[in-house]
Amino acid sequence: MDSLIYFLYAFVGILMGSALSILPGLHIYSIAAIGVFFIVSFPSVDPLGLSMVFTGMLVAYAIVNAITATFMGAPDDSLRYMIFPNQKYLMAGRGYEASIIGGMGALGAMMILLLIAPIASYIFPIFRKLTTPHMPWILIGCVVYLLQTEWPKDWGSRAKTRFGRLKDGWASLSAGWLVFFLSMMMGFVLLNMPVTSIDKAMQGMIMPAFSGFVAVPWVLTNAAARFKVPKQNIKNTFYVSKKDMIRGTTTGFLGGMFSAHEPMISAGVGGLLAGHATVTGGDVQFMVSGSAARFTYYVGAFFLLWVPFLHLIRKGLANITVTVFSPRSESEFWLLVAVVAVSAVIAFLFLIVISRFISKIIPRYSYRKVSLGVLAVIIILVLYFSGWQGLIILTIASGIGLTQIMFRTRWANIMVGFFFPIMLSMAGLSAPIVKMLGIY
């Protein structure tokens, strides 16, 4: 009976997480910042109960956030421009379907997480023991792979000469590397010369940087495009095959779990690696695997903190949680597993209801105005959390994000570029660069 109260805590978290998820541009790191606020404001709250609030928030964020990506064009990581299927579906009047397909991917990932829970305390400690001393080359290897597989996009160059064709092809390729370089330089500056105090680093620097990298360029492009969202078709039958669901979910789970286990690897990067390895293709598989990867990345990383004999601290919310509560017992682990399962189902139901509502109202509004409204929300949030310094970070990051969109390069370059200085630091290679830049 006592444990039921923790499900209530989780429900509060689901409500909060769902509400936060609909606010475009608000990244999970900002939710972690709200977690800090919680700890400071309510010291008398049961630490385990507070952890369950976080669990509910995180699960809801991982599932319901598909709405902003689909209907408001303000995605977080793992999503990409132009060939991003959710927006294609939205423009075909199938935004609701895209949103629910994504939710199904997340539910599928949750089910795999439940399946591996009984063996988690056996397998994850093995990975941790073996890979810990090899972390620098594993992480840098991932970055090298991403950069090396940035293929030229010449769009069928008509240039007459070999050099002309080479130039056309290398335009997007070099832009992709430029985006990586600029993002890396920004990472070096922000991580070595914090413009805000350390305790506000998450919301003060990371949030404006991430909003600038992804959300602002996206909404600016949508606003400039002046397209009208067609009437949305709300139906309960979807074009999804079992094969697409199984392949998408397993691929997303593998990529998400890899990124959850390894530091500095985002869901997008993990999803991309797993997608290549399992030869994933098509819009449905992409949507399913993207959502599954995102769910596993966020929830899986938090799950690893609770696994008995592992207690691996990875990603934002695990770092926040250990400041108030350190899970130790097996019963706490199983409580978390149960709360994740129940929260995922409730969050999925919320996703259905909210997606239906937004599908009905969104064609009535100008998408341009919605985009500009989203931009205003992002700027207000950045000003509130980070002040004018945050606005400068947001502007610079938006420039980098727009470069990525203009040249249609891989978005993951931005993310891995931003965290590359930490990887170099782990390999003992960052000091000379920091010294050269004069930012130590």
């Binding site: 132009m82 294609k88 769009w155």
Partner: protein, 388 residues
């Protein structure tokens, strides 16, 4: 094989070398990453440089707003006929362009060589996105969808399927005159030539050695490169192993295909299992804290438990699934696939089977060698690499 498969295979080979792994643990050495870089380097060279060096004899660039499939088929048939008049060993290269209509919209068309009727068939399809999702109602009327042209020489096309031209860049074909007078269709002729030769791998390894003075760097370059060539040879398209001594691309061993959804994950998974095995093996030299199982555990038992059993189960499921489910209906299209693309897929069922029977079948000994050679290299590495 997919890029990630080559990348991780290259890394796997180097994790057998003791000095590299101990260096990675003790000094954060990154030399192991060279395995990934040079495991993928042949494709990097082909698709980032050599693709642009190709000179085309015929460029087909149709007007997307006025598609004339007969004209396209005619140009291709003309190129085949012209090849028939050339000396053996000569090639006519044809570039087919993609036709961009919008930021993510392309006019699709497909090309098929019907050898039974000596015909080039060009079908105009609907507008498609980059992921080949067709837009409803954009299919051309039947009288403007199909173009056929006859050619004279006997044609050898080991690909045997229609080539779809959608987004990104269009394919190129090489028509190669054979000694017996026939003409072979060489798909993307720039690919797997000099960039996929052992000689170029050796040159890179030599450069690596000369720059660093360390033989291990040469090994870290050449072995992953060699694994790339071997893995590619398992597919349909072979390589030009000893360029510039050998001039043409050989045929593959037809054991798998580059995008196979079973073998790619299998190789990636097995490679990861071997990497973890090697980590355990060499971590032990540094600290028992980083050891997950006893170093004396048999590698064969480990591989049996970690690789063979799970993949036997998955392989059985995959085999049962693919043998029972012949063709899955398209499920993610914005409208059911209709018009030229669907018609092409249905009508060409018969010739496709005919073509498959014509494909070259490498002898059993070559096929066994294709698998045995990488296995032997890995076994030698496992036995002696620890001391290198």
């Amino acid at each position: 094989m997919k890029g990630v498969t080559h990348f991780i295979m290259g890394i796997t080979a180097l994790t057998f070398i003791g000095s590299l792994m101990r260096g990675a643990v003790i000094e954060d050495s990154l030399i192991v990453v060279l395995g990934g870089i040079f495991g993928l380097m042949p494709d990097t060279l082909d698709f980032k440089f050599l693709v642009y060096m190709e000179k085309h004899d015929v460029v087909i660039d149709p007007d997307p707003h006025d598609m004339r499939p007969k004209e396209i088929a005619g140009k291709l048939a003309e190129a085949i006929d012209k090849t028939g008049t050339l000396k053996p060993g000569k090639m006519v290269k044809v570039q087919l362009h993609t036709l961009k209509l919008g930021p993510d919209l392309w006019q699709s068309y497909s090309v098929f060589f019907n050898k039974r009727r000596n015909e080039v068939i060009v079908n105009v399809g609907p507008h498609v996105t980059m992921s080949r999702v067709p837009s409803p109602g954009t299919e051309p009327p039947p009288d403007k969808a199909l173009g056929v042209a006859k050619y004279a020489p006997k044609l050898i096309d080991t690909y045997g399927k229609p080539s779809e031209i959608g987004g990104f860049s269009g394919p190129s074909f090489g028509f190669l005159k054979k000694k017996d007078g026939s003409v072979e269709v060489v798909f993307i002729p720039f690919h797997r030539r000099s960039g996929h030769s052992l000689t170029l791998g050796a040159i890179f390894a030599l450069i690596g050695y000369l720059l660093t003075g360390k033989p291990i760097i040469a090994v870290a370059i050449f072995i992953p490169w060699t694994f790339h060539i071997i893995l590619d040879t398992l597919g349909h398209m072979g390589n030009n192993l000893f360029w510039p001594i050998t001039k043409q691309r050989t045929s593959g061993l037809y054991l798998t295909s580059a995008n196979n959804p079973f073998w790619n994950p299998f190789i990636v998974y097995s490679s990861m299992a071997l990497i973890l095995w090697n980590m355990n093996r060499f971590n032990t030299d540094v600290s028992s804290l980083y050891m997950a199982f006893e170093p004396g555990t048999s590698v064969w038992l480990y591989l049996f438990l970690v690789v063979v059993i799970p993949w036997l189960i998955l392989g059985t499921i995959y085999f049962l699934y693919t043998s029972r489910v012949k063709e899955e209906k398209p499920t993610e299209v914005l409208a059911p696939m209709a018009g030229a693309a669907a018609r092409m897929a249905t009508e060409l069922e018969e010739p496709r089977y005919e073509d498959i029977s014509e494909r070259p079948k490498p002898s059993l000994i070559w096929r066994i060698l294709g698998i045995a050679v990488p296995a032997i290299i890995l076994i030698v590495f496992a036995m002696y690499g620890g001391g290198w």
